[in-house]
Structures are given as C-alpha cells and as structure tokens.
C-alpha cells in the first residue's frame, strides 16, 4: 500500500476522507445541577474526574443572601451556611437555577442525593466550561472518525473480534472480553450489542450498523440508564454507515496495529481516539479508492482516470471515473460514489 508517487491534481475531484484527525474537540453534557470538577486550561488524562453528575435531579427553593448583597449568577454553586439550624429540605446544596419571579433573594436550586463522578475517557485540555450546558475538551492524540455512534463514550483495550469481513454473533462474546473495545468487522446486530454490554465489553466498532439494530440498542440503553444502578459506559461506533460493507483495508490495518492498546470510543463526535506514539500509520496510495455508496458498496481498488459526464442507470448523467475494483476488469462508475483515504 505504500507508494511514493506525485499525486495527480485531478485526484482532488474525488472526496478525501482523512484516515486520522488531530486536535479533535469533544463536549461533555453538563446539565443544570451537575458540578464541573475542571476549569478551562485543566489538563486531563484518561480516568481523571470531569464532573459530578446528579442522577436524581430535583428543584428546591432556597434563600440566597450573599455577604456583600450582590445578586448571584445563575449556574453558581450554592450550599447552606454551616452551623445554622435548618429544616431538612433547606440543607441541600446544588446549582442555582433561576430566581423566583419577583423575589430577588429566593432562588430555585437544582439538587439531588445520588451523585456519580464522571471521568474523562480521553487525554486533552479543557477549553470551556459552561455550567448547565457543557464541558468542551480539545483531545490529545489521533482520532479515527466514524459515521455515527450511540451509547456513552468509553475507554478500553482494543481487541479484534473478527476479521474485517466478518459478523460477530451474540454467542461469540463472553466475559473474557470484559473491559475491551471490540472491532467486530462488517456488522453487528442489536442482540449482540446488548450481550456485549452485559459481558462488560466497553465498546463496539463496526463498519456498519443497521438502523433497526441501532434503534433497538438505543432503546435498551435508555432503559439501562434509567435504572438506579449506574452501568459502566458502553458505546458503539459505526465507521461507515448503515448499509453492510467491510471495514476499509487501511482502517483495518490501523485497527490491527492498535490491537491491545488502550483507546477511547467517543460518541460526540463519533470517533475512536488513540495515542499515536509508536504507531506507524498505514500509508495509502493516492489513487486508492473505495466505493462509499451505491452498488459495489465497500469495494476497493484504484482510480485510473476521470472520464467526464456519463449516463448511468435511471438515465441520469453523472461525473464518472474509470476504476479497477477488487482486481476485476476496469469499468466506469459515478465519481460521487467513490472516496479516497489519506
């Protein structure tokens, strides 16, 4: 795959999909009530605390009087002054939501008893903290971007469960996979996803996930999150889309090199984040192409030339390229169905 030839300028006409990105930003939801444990500029490592999440948020009313008489800001933390006797409902601490209409010192407070500490799945630097809205991080490391993801961001050891062409059946997942992020090849169904979560797997990476399986998994995930017991974070990442195809060869080569290393699976944006130190990134020939959509989905090969407008099925005229896919004889196909990796 490693070829050092000058890139013909016409290749610019084929959409380029970056193999890896640097400097990716991610944001962590910080709804009213949750307490940030970092501030802008904080450097975080995987496992460092990011925020305290209130699982049973409720609103209480409190009298807020500051020593200097200034009105506090919404989003500020508030706790009762120690040492004074209060009724139990006035002992809550939390985040100031908004003042009561017409009463400057009477505030609504978001509070709760059950609190969980949320850790970072990635290394990076905090670039913004907005109480009640989000924590934004710039990630350190490289990111393999996906098409979409679901569940929660998670971290684990990357393991290859199948070859890039394979499907993983539910029976193929056992407790030996606990703590891992599994690469499962071309596709996975909802049953295998829920079994993987139950076996302690932290995440699944697949080339594609059908919409129905994704919705079934998301419904199951919502039920899990609603339970009192806090489940371990579990995420699922579809690298390419919803229609079945294999993992692209350069991506599969990269995942093979990452096997056994700690990686993070991000949901927003959908990506697999890893420390690039010591990783030799696969080199992709400039004329390497993959079929991104339409017939021949997932096929790979070389683009030979651009041939201009051609008439295709359905009587539509599209910009076309002459390609050689999977060792077959060259043929012409719509340019828009192709992508390069680089």
């Amino acid at each position: 795959m490693s070829v050092a030839v000058p890139t013909p300028s016409w290749l610019d006409e084929i959409p380029l999909h970056r193999l890896v990105d640097r400097g990716l930003e991610t944001s962590v939801p910080l709804p009213p009530g949750d307490r940030p444990l970092v501030e802008p500029g904080t450097v975080v490592l995987p496992g460092d605390l990011l925020l305290e999440h209130v699982r049973d948020r409720r609103v209480a009313e409190v009298d807020v009087r500051t020593p200097d008489g200034d009105r506090p800001l919404a989003g500020s933390r508030w706790a009762p002054v120690p040492g004074r006797r209060r009724r139990a409902e006035h002992l809550a601490d939390g985040e100031l939501l908004a003042p009561m209409p017409g009463k400057s010192s009477r505030w609504r407070l978001v509070t709760g008893e059950h609190r969980a500490q949320i850790t970072s799945s990635v290394a990076g630097i905090v670039i913004e903290v907005r109480p009640g809205a989000m924590i934004r991080l710039r990630i350190e490391g490289l990111a393999l971007r996906g098409a979409f993801a679901a569940g929660a961001s998670a971290r684990g050891r990357l393991e290859l469960a199948t070859d890039p062409f394979g499907d993983l059946r539910p029976g193929g997942i056992d407790v030996g996979r606990t703590g891992s992020i599994l690469v499962v090849g071309s596709r996975i169904d909802a049953e295998a996803l829920t079994r993987a979560r139950a076996m302690g797997v932290r995440g699944i990476v697949a080339a594609s996930i059908a919409g129905k399986d994704l919705r079934d998994f998301q419904a199951s995930e919502r039920r899990q999150r609603a339970a009192l017991h806090v489940p371990e974070p579990f995420g699922v990442l579809a690298l390419d889309g919803a229609m079945k195809r294999t993992i692209a060869t350069p991506v599969a080569a990269l995942l093979e090199r990452l096997a056994g290393r700690e990686v993070a699976l991000l949901v927003d944006p959908p990506a697999l984040v890893f420390d690039g130190t010591g990783i030799d990134l696969p080199q992709v020939a400039p004329d390497w192409v993959r079929v991104r959509s339409g017939p021949n989905l997932g096929a790979e090969g070389r683009v030979l030339e651009l041939v201009g407008l051609r008439r295709f099925a359905g009587g539509v005229h599209l910009e076309a390229a002459r390609v050689e896919l999977d060792g077959e004889a060259p043929f012409e196909m719509p340019l828009g169905d192709l992508e390069r990796l680089g």
């Binding site: 209409p101 109480p131 809205a133 059908a210 919409g211 229609m243 959509s293 295709f312 359905g314 169905d337």
Partner: protein
Amino acid sequence: MRSGRSDRSVAASIGSVSSPTRVFATVDRGTASTAVALIGRMGGRHRLLGSTGGPVGVPDDALLERLRRRIDAADHELAAALGIDQPGVMADLPRLVCATAKAPVLAVIAATHRIVGPLAAVAETAGWQVRALVIDGSDILEVATALADRRVDAILAGASEPPGADERGLIGELGTLVAATTERRPDLVTVLAGGLASPGGRTETLFRPDRPGPTVLAPSPADDDGEPLRSLLDSLRGGHDDGRRALAAAAGSLARVLRRRVEVLEIGQSGGSRTLASWQPGTGSLVRTAAVARAALLPRPFTEADLDAVIGWLPISLDRLRTRDRLREMATAPWGDAAGDGATLRMAMVRAATGRLLDLTPSFEDLPAPDLVVASGGAWLAAPATATALAVADVARRPGARAVGVDHARVLAPIGAIEDDDDRARLLAELRDDLLVPLGTIVTAGGLRAARTVGSLTVHGEGGPVEVELVPGSVELVDVPPGERATIELRFRDPVDLGVRARHLALDVTGGLGGLIVDLRDVPLRLPDRLEPRRELLASWQALVWPGFDQ
C-alpha cells in the same frame, strides 16, 4: 467580488468585475455539494460558459479547473481569448461566492401553547431549526435544561401584547428563566418579541447589560403576518454570504428583468427556501421569502412521518427498513447513490421536502400565482429534466398555467450576492437565455368532474395543430421544444379552475425539455392510501417523463 483563494466572499459588485475582467466564477457552496460556473464577457455581454459540481469538500479550484479544461477542449480559441487556456489560472479568478450552512437551533419559548405556536411558525420560516418550549404545565428543570442545551444557538421568547389572562401569571417565570439562561451562556443571542419587547420593560431589565451576547427587541408575530419578525430572525442567522438570502435577492432581480412573477423553490441538504417575487412599474420588485430548515432533504429530527412522506412518493418497491438505512447513508454521503433507484429515491425525497416547504408557508398561497416557477438547489438536478418538471407539477399544485425552469448551473444564488440590485439585474438580463434550463409549461386544471373525457386541447405550434382529448386524472404531455412558443386552446364541457373559472381558454405557452404538461389530476393531488396501488400510479406517471425509469 473577490479574488484568490480566501474562504469567504466579500460584498460584490458586478461593476467591478465587468470592466477589468473578461471572465469570473460563481461558487455556490451547499452543505452537500458545491456548484461552480464560469461567466465570460463575449460580444459585449456576459454569457454562461459552463458549470459543474462536486461533493462538498472537493476544493473549488479543482472543480473550476475541471470546467476550464472542458471549455479549453471544446473551444480553445474562446478559452485563449478569455485567458483561461492555461492550467492554474483559476486560482486568481474573481469569484461570486455564497454558502449555505446547517440551520442553527433556536429555542422558542412562551408562557403557553397559544403563544408559542405563532412564534414557532414564524421562526420555522426564518431558516432556524426550532425547538418550541412552554412554561405552562412543564417541569421548570426540563425547560431550563433545554434552554441551556449546548446545541441551542439563540433564544426567542415572546408574549402576546398585552399579555393574555392565561399567560400573565407565567410571564415573570418566563423572564427569569430566559435571563438565567443568558447568565449561564452570556454570548447567547436572545430575542424578546411581542409583549416582552417593550424597551426598558420589566423583562429586558432582567438581563445583565454587560453580557457579550445581544438582547434584541422584536415585533410580535401578529404584526403584518409575522413578516417583520421573520425578517429579523432571518437576519440573525448565516453569514453575509448566506446562499438563501442571496437567492431571494436574485429572484427579485429576475422578476424585474423578466417583468414576471417568479417563484423559486429551493431544496437542499440543510433546508429549503421559497421565494415569490413580482415586479410592478413604479413599485419595483416585491419579494416574499421564507427559509425553512424542515424543508431539508433529510430534516432534523427525521421522524417517522418524514419517512412516511418519502415512502409515499416512491414509485418503486423498497421496504421501510432498507429505505431508512439508505436515507441514513445519504445523510453521511449526500452526493452518493445518485444513479438507478438512488435517483428515484432522491426525487421522492425532493417531493417530500417540497411538500413540507409548501405546508410551512401557507401565506404564500394568498399571493398572486407565479408565471414562472424555478427549481433550485442540487437536489432537483438528480433526475432528467422532464422528471423534474413532473416533480414540480406533483407538489406545487395551483390551478393555472406556469412556465417551469431549473437553475441548472446554480448561479442564481451567487449572483444574488451582488449587493446592488441594478448590477444584479444588468447581469441577469445579459444571462437570461443561459440561466435556466426551460422545462416547459405546466397547465393545471382544478375542479374537474368525473367523466371519461372532459374536453379537448388544441396546440397550435410550429409543427401544426395537435389535438388531445382531456381525461380527468391524467397527465398529458405535448412536445413543445425549448425556445418554441405555442398557443393552446383548452375547451372543457363544464367550467373548470385554471386560475380563473372558464370553459374555454386560449394561452400562449413556452416550450422546454418537458414540453407542455397538461395536468388533469386532483388539486390537491389525491393518491391511494394503500402503498401498492399508489406506487403503480406514481410509476405510471414517472414512466411518461423519465427515460430509463425502471420500476
């Protein structure tokens, strides 16, 4: 007009390009694709030299170089005369650039459903993705969380003027919640409308004066049919080169040039827009426009009803799960899967999106009907021109006759980026023969009675008269080539609605790739509820106009 490779255009003036340069480029950057065109000065006027397009992300220069190569290969002398016969010259070419972006999110909040409805309806037509919230009966914590959501770009809060009895007790709550949100997110744009907007009023004083984000006082949605509020909200989104605003400006200039009422129906990946422009001596151009995020090919959120709407227009059999998966693929690679049944699927998406666009702009139906309908946006270019004409007839169902064209080179919006209306009109006047691909004329008759035949059509064209029997429920196609004019006579047994109620009508029509389409189907279109007969009916119409259509 700008030169070079910078990413953003600047305010444009055709005067500055027409004198020193002989050729310039237009660039329409959508969210799914980019279209470029070259416009050159020949024989004392501007002409469209050519156009092409590609997926978003492909550099403008690569697309322009492709176009340059083709022009050079087709007519080297012309390319040399215009100075575009050498590779690399495109980088320094002056450009008119416009861009459309993903619709920003506007949280619309009011005390009650009665108030939030009209506010949200206006905001929906101003290019925002709307999340409606009410105080009455809601969990305050949920409302506060939704307002502070990181995906919210701006807040519109409103009350009736004066506040009604149902909202008076909740106005204070509304004001404090919105003001508290701006304390969490000080840069948030906040619009106070109607009863909340009295300058220096109680609500405005709740906001900290030193916060970086603006607090904008806006009119009520009840004022002038919501147009002042819509216009204000529209101005708060997008950059100065916003493609949808530019398209509306171009439509106004086009109406002025053609002296006709022009309706532009634009459908894109991130939204759609509808513009109705007319021109009258003395008053100039009158432009009514609406940008609708829900009119995107794949609106967010994409609901089951949206999926039903696409499936409802499919003339081919695709199961629901597979259709949903293909649509999801199109969300991530909107330029792909454009051939075969991918094109059919795309045209079903276009029809569904246009249906939403028309449903969300009902006030346009009260305006005089257009003489010319222009289909704009990359989505309309997915099918052969004749099939596009039928798609327009399927969804824009007004009795009467109208010419239909397609903005094939996507130059209208970049030209709309020229600031001066006179400059725009001058350029459009010079390009009037190149701007639009004429699809033909659609004649839609409403109020037909059920019968075997209801009358006859005689077309007096250059090839001699053609007689057609008119059958209710059918679509009749008569070949009237582009550039040709014909006079048609419609004779009905009973009075029908052709914009006016009449039994006998003679009209001058213009030809196009789709010729003359006489549409005798119901207004509005009624289709079978069951999918199979519905598909068969749609397929029978599609087969008439889509060469190569394979059911």
